[in-house]
């Protein structure tokens, strides 16, 4: 078998959709993917994040790579390789339109960077402890490539050409309509003299290092013409450059280019979750199979956690578990108590697990989903309540028609457009239908009655019993409690003796 991917163990017919499914928006997965890929625009990673593998083998192939990437040293050198490859492409971009010596100069600089990047990568891979099929195959491939005589000879030639060009020194006098170049005569630096004279004005001396040497490698048309004159002053150095260019134009290997892109799938995700890990949040590679009986300890909503991490706020994690015959969770509790967040984290866990990614949580067991369906209350168009209820039910019907026992259905406050009595009756029927389908379902509702349905798992967003106005954002298995939550104004502002005492800084 020919190695050509660290994402797919074998060629897979992609089943990427044309447009986002609803759950991307409802579960804030679109936000997460946007966040992950924000700094990786040129790799076009979105299709990879939007394509769920159909086989467990593909998921495990990726999980193995992620296990190898638990070694931070491995991540460091792969990131370093990526940065260098990015610069190789940057150097090559748009050189076709450039003038002879300029174009050749850029190609030489790109090639030198590439040779160095690949050589270093081979060296690093050789010493890395790799267990995954994907990265091991990649290592073997790169080693053979670097050892080839073509690669070695091109690399040596480029280095020599560059060294002699770098040694060139010339003096240029710039008037108002002419430029004269000659070989350097070693004159004194005039700025040093000026700086010395003005040094007494204070901060000058220590600012000296701050002034950047002019380093922009773009050239204007006069400079391009002057470069041709310099080439005449130094004919040998420039002759060697011409010959390098003629022999080594297509120096990038196709498989190397492909793997370079696929690496970004891994790196971009690890980068995205890295600030969260630093906050102490845990991620795990879930055990993935086909059976029911799933759980995740310390799960959390990745999109919310990312947002909170920027403000330094605390993220609340929750556990969930469904044993073999359990399939429906009904979540009740106070408003703003973390119900929707819990439902989102549940859906995200299955989605990211199916992509082969480490998921939020300490330890988890998942199964490979075939699809995720969501039905979230939309706040708009409340004018036509009757129409809305009907739309909701049509939507639900569609979901039920296509869901299977490997599907996840997440419903968030669906029946608020009707009376409680109707809502309870309809809701019961829907839950019953879902149970018949044997899909996994999370149903978020303000109606406690649903939580009392036989064989439904009831989870409740908790409040602090001693201070009911405080939401803990914990969602746990318990009977629905239907508490009322009043707050006192002074309490709210923390203006009690103890709180004031505690707050004031010594």
């Amino acid at each position: 078998m020919v190695f050509n991917s660290i994402l797919w163990p074998e060629r897979q017919a992609t089943n990427r959709r044309e447009e986002y499914p609803d759950f991307f928006v409802d579960l804030n997965i679109d936000q997460i993917i946007n966040g992950i890929t924000a700094a990786y625009g040129e790799y076009n990673l979105r299709p990879i994040f939007e394509t769920l593998p159909k086989s467990i083998d593909a998921v495990r192939y990726r999980q193995e790579v992620f296990r190898d990437l638990q070694n931070p040293d491995t991540v460091v050198f792969l990131k370093d390789f990526s940065t260098r490859m990015k610069n190789v492409y940057r150097r090559l971009s748009g050189i076709e339109g450039l003038y002879k010596y300029q174009k050749q100069g850029w190609l030489l600089d790109a090639a030198l960077l590439y040779f160095e990047a690949v050589t270093d990568l081979a060296e690093k891979l050789r010493h890395a402890d790799l267990r995954s099929k994907g990265l091991r195959s990649f290592r073997d491939y790169i080693q053979a490539y670097v050892d080839s005589s073509n690669f070695r000879e091109a690399s040596e030639e480029g280095t020599q050409v560059k060294a002699s060009l770098s040694a060139v020194r010339y003096e240029m006098s710039i008037g108002s309509s002419r430029v004269t170049v000659r070989k350097d005569r070693g004159r004194e630096n005039y700025n040093e003299i000026v700086r010395e004279a003005f040094g007494k004005f204070g901060a000058n001396q220590k600012q000296a290092g701050k002034i950047k040497r002019f380093n922009d490698p773009s050239m204007n048309n006069v400079e391009v013409s002057v470069l041709a004159l310099i080439a005449r002053l130094f004919p040998e150095e420039f002759g060697a450059l011409v010959s390098f260019y003629d022999n080594h134009q297509g120096f990038i290997d196709l498989v190397v280019a492909q793997i370079y892109r696929e690496l970004q799938f891994y790196i971009s995700y690890l980068e995205y979750i890295s600030p969260l890990r630093k906050m102490g949040l845990e991620f795990c590679i879930p055990e993935i199979g086909t059976g029911r009986g799933i759980y995740c300890l310390q799960s959390f909503d990745l999109a919310l956690a990312y947002k909170l991490s920027t403000s330094g706020s605390k993220v609340i994690a929750n556990d969930f578990e469904l044993s073999g015959d359990e399939s429906t969770i009904v979540v009740t509790g106070p408003n703003n108590g973390g119900k929707t967040t819990f439902a989102r984290s549940f859906g995200q866990a299955f989605f990211f697990a199916a992509l082969g990614l480490p998921i939020p949580g300490k330890e988890a067991k998942m199964f490979l989903v075939d699809n995720i369906y969501t039905h979230f209350e939309k706040s708009e168009d409340l004018e036509n309540l009757r129409g809305k209820l009907e739309d909701d039910l049509v939507e639900m019907r569609k979901i039920l028609d296509s869901a299977t026992e490997r599907s996840i259905i997440i419903i968030n406050e669906m029946l608020s457009s009707t009376t409680s009595k109707d809502a309870i009756q309809i809701g019961r029927r829907i839950i019953e239908l879902i149970r018949k389908k044997n899909s996994i379902c999370v149903y978020v509702t303000f109606l406690d009655e649903f939580a009392k349905i036989h064989e439904v798992v009831s989870m409740v967003s908790q409040v602090d019993p001693s201070a009911p106005e405080i939401r803990t954002f914990k969602v746990m298995r318990s009977d629905p409690n239907g508490l009322a939550y009043a707050r006192a104004i002074a309490e709210k502002y923390g203006l009690t003796y103890e709180k004031i005492w505690g707050k004031i800084k010594e």
């Binding site: 010339y170 006098s173 108002s176 002419r178 600012q207 502002y493």
Partner: protein
């Protein structure tokens, strides 16, 4: 080069930011009226005085340092005002040189910096000479050090040398640079080297021509080429332009700092003269580090009020050994708020090194100063009145540190007496336990009354009202007028035989003091 009229050399780092509650302070203590008089018509002086007064000092040494500088300024008003106007004129002149020039072009930037530097150096020479003349009559460390520094740093010899360099930076014979080959074969380096001089001797001239060299000449109408060449010249002198413009900026930074610090004293002089002209008393306060030193004042008055009406106001006096909590009670419109404002203003003015509006004033240096005044209902507010009051109080609690002084004016009054008093006591007790100092104006007599005999050794003041109802606007030491006669009446009506449970219930509710 530091100015050091506001801070002794090296202590500047201890300066603070504008406090979070500056808007409340300005409003509650009527500071804008004071700032306006200090400013005259000069908005810059307004801004500086506002900033300097709000950024209260907390160390006694710097307060005294400023008091000394201010005393010098009062005795040498002409010098202070002349220094200020010289700086203002120079800055205006320099701005004229600047405003039409595109600063991103190093050639322009270089020329601009050269002309601006010349203006600043001339102004500094002028200040140097007026300072030299005034030096014998200056006694404060701040002023003496500033003038000596200017005389030393900007001496004639130095200014002459710098002027010479400014002339030679016009590059009359073209620009010479050394370069190398960089990324993508670009021309790099552009390091300015000592320019060519025309060779005098024939042999040198021949040698010069003989060296291999190539010249690129622009076509007459090659506009792009002209731009490219200008760009290359610009690159060559970019570093030079930065060196010179940075020097100009450093001199300007010094001039700006000088302007700012002088402006504060100009503001103080304006206020001093204004108050003296209406016959009001002013004096330098005595700041104390010891929190146990109490609060004393004689003839204190509301500066803003006097400035508004152009008249001296009724002064109040107090010598309180214990000032952890001072309650001010008494008749409506009897001068309670006016006194509270007067003390607040004096505290702020003392802590920025100014004189105060009193014959004498002494108190401890607060770590921060906060006001919590009852506000008229704000129509734009979504919150209820009490909610709004509590949210402001909560913000204060979030910000203060031990040793702050808090000025309360009718706080908690947007709820009823009983609830308000209860809640106020809880807050006051917590604040006192944390070492705060409080001055509390209230018409809740029972709140003040409940502190009679308290371990916090409260000081009680009361706005005076004569038998016939006349208000004297004197606020004197006096206990609050008692209000809790409810239990007495209860006992009187029902006698001692009444069932005890009933009384206890009332007592716990806070309505009646338990026996």
């Amino acid at each position: 080069m530091n100015v050091n009229l506001l801070f002794r050399e090296g202590t500047y780092a201890t300066s603070r930011n504008i406090p979070w509650n500056s808007k409340d302070l300005e409003k509650d203590l009527d500071l804008e009226t004071i700032f306006n008089v200090m400013a005259g018509k000069d908005t810059y002086v307004f801004d500086v005085c506002q900033k300097t007064i709000l950024k209260s000092l907390t160390d006694r040494e710097t307060i005294i340092y400023r008091q000394d500088v201010l005393k010098d300024a009062i005795d040498n008003q002409a010098l202070v005002r002349e220094m200020y106007s010289t700086i203002v004129n120079a800055v205006t002149e320099a701005r004229k040189q600047r405003f039409w020039i595109n600063n991103s072009n190093p050639e322009f930037a270089l020329h601009e910096s050269i002309s601006v530097l010349k203006i600043y150096l001339a102004a500094l020479e002028k200040i140097r000479e007026m300072g030299r003349a005034a030096l014998p009559s200056l006694h404060s460390e701040g002023f003496r050090q500033l003038i000596s520094m200017i005389i030393h740093e900007f001496n004639q010899e130095y200014i002459g040398m710098v002027s010479g360099h400014l002339e030679s930076l016009h590059f009359p014979r073209g620009i010479y640079v050394r370069g190398g080959i960089g990324m993508g074969n670009s021309l790099t380096g552009y390091a300015l080297v000592v320019p060519d001089v025309r060779p005098d001797k024939i042999m040198e001239r021949i040698a010069h021509i003989r060296e291999p060299h190539y010249t690129y000449v622009l076509h007459d109408r090659d506009e792009n080429g002209g731009k490219a060449l200008a760009d290359m010249r610009a690159r060559s002198i970019r570093e030079t332009a930065e060196i010179v413009s940075e020097s100009a900026e450093n001199v300007l930074a010094f001039i700006d700092k000088l302007k700012e610090e002088i402006a504060f004293y100009v503001g103080c002089l304006n206020l001093w003269n204004n108050l003296r002209s209406i016959g009001a008393q002013v004096s330098f306060p005595v700041p104390e580090n010891d929190t146990k030193s109490g609060t004393s004042y004689e003839g204190i008055y509301d500066v803003a009020l006097s400035l508004r009406v152009h008249k001296t106001a009724v002064g109040n006096s107090l010598h309180a050994e214990s000032d952890s909590i001072i309650f001010i009670t008494g008749a409506n419109k009897g001068g309670k708020s006016t006194l509270l404002r007067a003390i607040g203003q004096a505290q702020l003015m003392m802590q920025c090194g100014m004189f105060v509006a009193a014959e004498s004033f002494s108190t401890y240096i607060a770590s921060s100063i906060c006001t919590h005044f009852k506000r008229e209902e704000d129509s734009g507010m979504v919150m209820g009145k009490f909610d709004e009051e509590m949210s402001r109080l909560s913000a204060i609690v979030d910000h203060i540190a031990v040793g702050s002084r808090l000025f309360f004016n009718e706080s908690f009054s947007s709820t009823n007496v009983r609830e308000g008093s209860e809640l106020a006591m809880e807050v006051i007790n917590a604040l006192l336990a944390k070492g705060m100092k409080i001055i509390f104006v209230t018409h809740f007599n029972e709140l003040a009354e409940s502190y009679i005999g308290s371990v916090h050794r409260p000081t009680f003041l009361r706005a005076e009202r004569l038998e016939d109802g006349t208000r004297t606007f004197k606020v004197l030491r006096a206990d609050p007028i008692p209000t809790s006669f409810g239990y007495d009446i209860f006992l009187k009506v029902f006698g001692e035989t009444t069932e005890f449970e009933g009384i206890e219930q009332l007592g716990n509710s806070g309505d009646v003091k338990p026996p």
